[in-house]
């Protein structure tokens, strides 16, 4: 991890959070909300946004107070901060998004124990400046939202033949109930992870190819 005051490349931080170090795809963190609420694309999307909101605020605040909190008590301090933020989000959703609050129910308070959030506070926000921490939270949070949306979409499409509540495959589609049930979440996630690895492999191969070409060019000029 780079030291305090060097400003990191914002684009790299974002890409890292959104894709290469994605909480779900790369780190397999936050499985509980992932498997619990992703029965439809809409549920996954809102759960992702709620998590993003908490992550954004917690990274911001932890980064702001990082100089004042003694090392010995940083974890309890971070947890109190995160738990307070989650409660604020929960109250706000209850007040202004009552229907979605009823659907997501128990999973909102569980954002507190989403290790992806404490993980970012500990691994990034406590060591980096405010702007970088916010960029990191945006990358990580949007990456998390994207993962939940994707899995929710796949499960809704295969399980009910719908996407965001709209009929896609028509009435004759035989709903594959398995994908709505918990095992379907694991199976769908497995295939998505395989797809992500394939994409990463190709990206890596392209990078390697560039390096090889540069090396050749270098050796020829010598």
């Amino acid at each position: 991890m780079p030291s305090n005051n060097d400003s990191l490349n914002k684009q790299e931080i974002f890409q890292d959070g959104f894709w290469f170090n994605n909480a779900i795809f790369a780190q397999l963190l936050g499985m509980c909300p992932l498997l619990g609420v992703t029965t439809t694309a809409e549920n996954g999307f809102w759960m992702g946004l709620a998590t993003l909101a908490v992550l954004l605020c917690s990274n911001l605040i932890v980064s702001l107070v990082r100089g004042f909190i003694p090392d010995e008590v940083r974890i309890p301090a971070y947890i109190v901060i995160i738990a307070s933020l989650v409660t604020v989000v929960e109250l706000a959703m209850n007040a202004w998004m009552h229907d979605m609050y009823l659907i997501l129910g128990l999973f909102i308070p569980l954002i507190v124990v989403n290790c992806a959030i404490l993980g970012r506070a500990e691994a990034f926000a406590s060591k980096n400046n405010v702007v970088d921490s916010v960029v990191d939270a945006l990358g990580m949070g949007l990456g998390f939202t994207f993962a939940l949306l994707l899995l929710g979409g796949v499960r809704e499409l295969l399980g009910q033949g719908e996407l965001f509540g709209f009929d896609v495959f028509g009435a004759s589609y035989p709903d594959v109930l398995l994908f709505i049930l918990p095992p379907g979440a694991f199976i769908a996630l497995g295939f998505i992870l395989a797809g992500v690895n394939l994409v990463n492999m190709k990206l890596q191969a392209k990078k390697d190819a560039v390096i090889i070409v540069e090396k050749q060019a270098g050796s020829e000029s010598v």
């Binding site: 301090a77 307070s84 007040a95 009823l102 009910q160 709505i180």
Partner: protein
Amino acid sequence: MSFDKAQQKIALTLFVVGLVSATLLALVDKWTAGPIAEAQRQALHQSLLQVLPEHANDPLQDMFLFPMSKQESLKVFPAKDKKGDVVAYAWQQVAPDGYSGTIKVLMGVRVSGEVAAIRVVFHKETPGLGDGIVKNTAWLNSFIDKTLSNAKWLVKKDGGDFDQFTGATITPRAVVKAVHQGLIFYKNNQVDMLKRVYAEALNKDKEGDKP
């Protein structure tokens, strides 16, 4: 016993973090209390409109508590016509035996004992399977005008009149049972309920007379 500087700093840090968090939560709680109550009222109001037949009063306003036992009482929402006569009641019936926990059904019952309509207002059933009790309008409508005597209050699998869903029998079974119990409850208590309504109306009149 004395504390060194580092320990004092630790204690102070935790104290400040706790204090700021508690203050923030207290403020947000105060700030959202109104909107939350309003959202819940709105949600209930919407459901009441769906389960009660046409009425001229505000069932939320006219809500009365019907004593069930020494400790418990049931919130009953009466629907009245223009003359002020009760045409139907609505109350929440709880089905404790859903597939994953309690299901709360808001049921509207006409004074004559027929189901006006039902809506599920709370459940944790499996999305795509058990949640047909919310989405499946045809199934919900199959309860309309059913009475204790004109229907068999079981799902078809158990030899009754109400459909189960593919892949989900337990959920509709629990709802059918709860609504059935609600009708039995109404049959046994309809006279007392009516008394309650008149008593409430008299109370209100008295209050109205006061300057």
